[in-house]
Point group: C2
Chain length 348, copies 2
């Protein structure tokens, strides 16, 4: 199989650690290796470096190649501009050699955590088997382990042949209201949409030609004249692969993933994934904490010293420090917006 | 008059801004100039630079000279080791030329704030007049503007001739219990002991010879052989001038100071002295604060960004950041102690 890792994100949720030129997927948020490197390592037993493709942005291309030196340089594709996942996936698959396109391609985000890679690979291998057997398009859905209105959900349809857990995806549900998410959680008939797909490359392109002819034509044009990508790519419709294709497929199948998945969507989500010290703080780097509890304390540069505080995020980089309550982690984007409004490109 | 500024302190209350080599008095906590420079500037109309003496430590001598280049280098005295205020004052006065010693000497801490220097000088000039008229030893007491159990208090005795506000100091009261401090405050019969004294130099040495013969003899020995200071000074009794002498004097006089004095004894005390912004934060440096109120936000290097926090101290230096509740400012010493225990001399 070939694996396509989408690494074009430029999130601001981990400011001040994440920056335009150093987004979340390039950070070692959760270990020694970056999330991108972890993603590649997780896939390695199923997809050798020569079979990895990475779609990123022009700004990040060099950094991605530095982090994944074993991936052939030409297989790190650089979008001239970000146009959401449908163009990224279509262009990447269209850029693969014909032989690769005829085989199975699996698509993954580059910025999620998987605590149990073996369980992940087991499900992925079974999804690949389904694709090979029936030429079905598959998505891997994460088995919910809490009520989560912040994620899109996949409603499970009838069982399908080929794997005891294989189910048709009956419906995509955008971020549900909290009560609905709670109902989903207890009924157990939904998975979280985690943006992982498996398909035959040629099949995906055929389906796109049927459902998104404009996108498919544009991608074919770029594939025929790669030198014109800078001019043509920005004209592709900026839509997600879910909206462009997956939601429209009758035969989309899914298998449930139960592999310690975490989307690391905020400082709070990161803190949940780090082992707490004796005082219940998740701390990394040079940290002194006295009478402090439940904090995320991260010293990327210099020393973080706290006393008598609870449930805060304190993140120090070489040029900035962020302090906010853990439960308001999502609002870090307001700080980024404020810095942008002040013209502080040095901090973005 | 001659002024003697005591600048040997090595406080840790303003960590991470204050360090062993850069203690509070050398910091511009409250403006463009350091507290030491502010102290000298405040005295300038009454004591020209040629009449200023500074007693500091060997470690800080060069830094003091750099901050006060107009003070003759030989008048910056460097204690071989800190031995509290009685040896510092006695040695400094004994080191002055005889002509200077015969005149009025006024002693001041180097690390306090005075919002109204003109009012301060008015009282100081009146104290000098009392000393000149009666050869009395004087202390300037700060008129309390709040209940403050953290300060020593001076109990006012009977009026003395020479100034309408001149009173005898009836008694020194060490840090009183809160209820006592409250009673003092409402009765209005006490001043805060702020460590400011005015006397004829020769008189002080005579009084010390009577009350602290060991100290006086030691100081005389050093004055006669300055080259042996490194050997002799550490043997002087380490006592405060209050305890060594002032508390023992029957004739100690005082005048009340009402000059916006602040001892800047903690981050909280500093915050009280800084003008708050619209959201009630006292902020200095490159600060972004959203939905944040009542904080002290100080960026000495880099950027401080906070969101949704209240009544915190956040201080960022080039190598560290401190976060603690404002009301627990005093406990910063616990962090310094912890760093010392960890052998982190780089941060002390």
């Amino acid at each position: 199989m070939r694996a396509l890792i989408l690494a074009g994100g430029s999130g601001t949720r981990f400011w001040p650690l994440s920056r335009r030129a150093r987004p979340k997927q390039l950070l070692a948020l959760d270990g020694e290796r970056s999330l991108l490197q972890e993603t590649a390592a997780r896939l390695a037993p199923l997809a050798a470096p020569a079979d990895l493709w990475v779609c990123t942005t022009r700004e990040l291309g060099d950094a991605v190649r530095r982090q994944l030196p074993e991936v052939p340089s030409a297989q790190v594709l650089e979008e001239p501009v970000g146009r959401n996942t449908a163009p990224a996936i279509a262009w990447s698959v269209a850029s693969m050699p014909a032989a690769a396109r005829q085989g199975v391609v699996a698509v993954f985000p580059s910025d999620h955590r998987v605590a149990d890679p073996a369980a992940f690979r087991d499900v992925l291998a079974r999804a690949v088997a389904v694709v090979e057997r029936d030429d079905r398009v598959m998505t891997l859905g994460v088995k919910p382990y809490r009520v989560e209105p912040g994620f899109g959900h996949l409603e499970l349809g009838e069982p399908l042949p080929g794997d005891p857990e294989l189910r048709r995806v009956a419906r995509f549900v955008e971020k549900p209201p909290p009560e609905t998410a709670e109902r989903f959680f207890h009924a157990g008939n939904h998975l979280w949409n985690a943006g992982m797909f498996v398909f035959r490359g040629a099949t995906l392109l055929e389906l796109l030609a049927r459902h998104q002819p404009e996108l498919a034509a544009g991608v074919a044009e770029i594939a025929a004249a790669p030198g014109r990508a800078g001019e043509l790519y920005p004209r592709l419709p900026a839509i997600s692969i879910d909206y462009a294709l997956m939601e429209k497929l009758d035969g989309l199948g899914t298998l449930p993933l139960d592999c310690g998945w975490n989307d690391l969507g905020s400082w709070e989500a990161l803190a949940e994934g780090l082992p707490p010290d004796a005082a219940g703080n998740a701390a990394r780097g040079d940290v002194v904490a006295l009478d402090a509890e439940g904090n995320l304390l991260l010293a990327d540069a210099g020393t973080v010293a706290v006393l008598g505080v609870r449930d805060l995020v304190v993140v120090r980089t070489a040029d900035a420090v962020l302090v906010l309550p853990k439960e308001r982690s999502q609002e870090v984007r307001r700080i980024v917006a404020e810095l942008a409004a002040r013209g502080r490109d040095d901090l973005l």
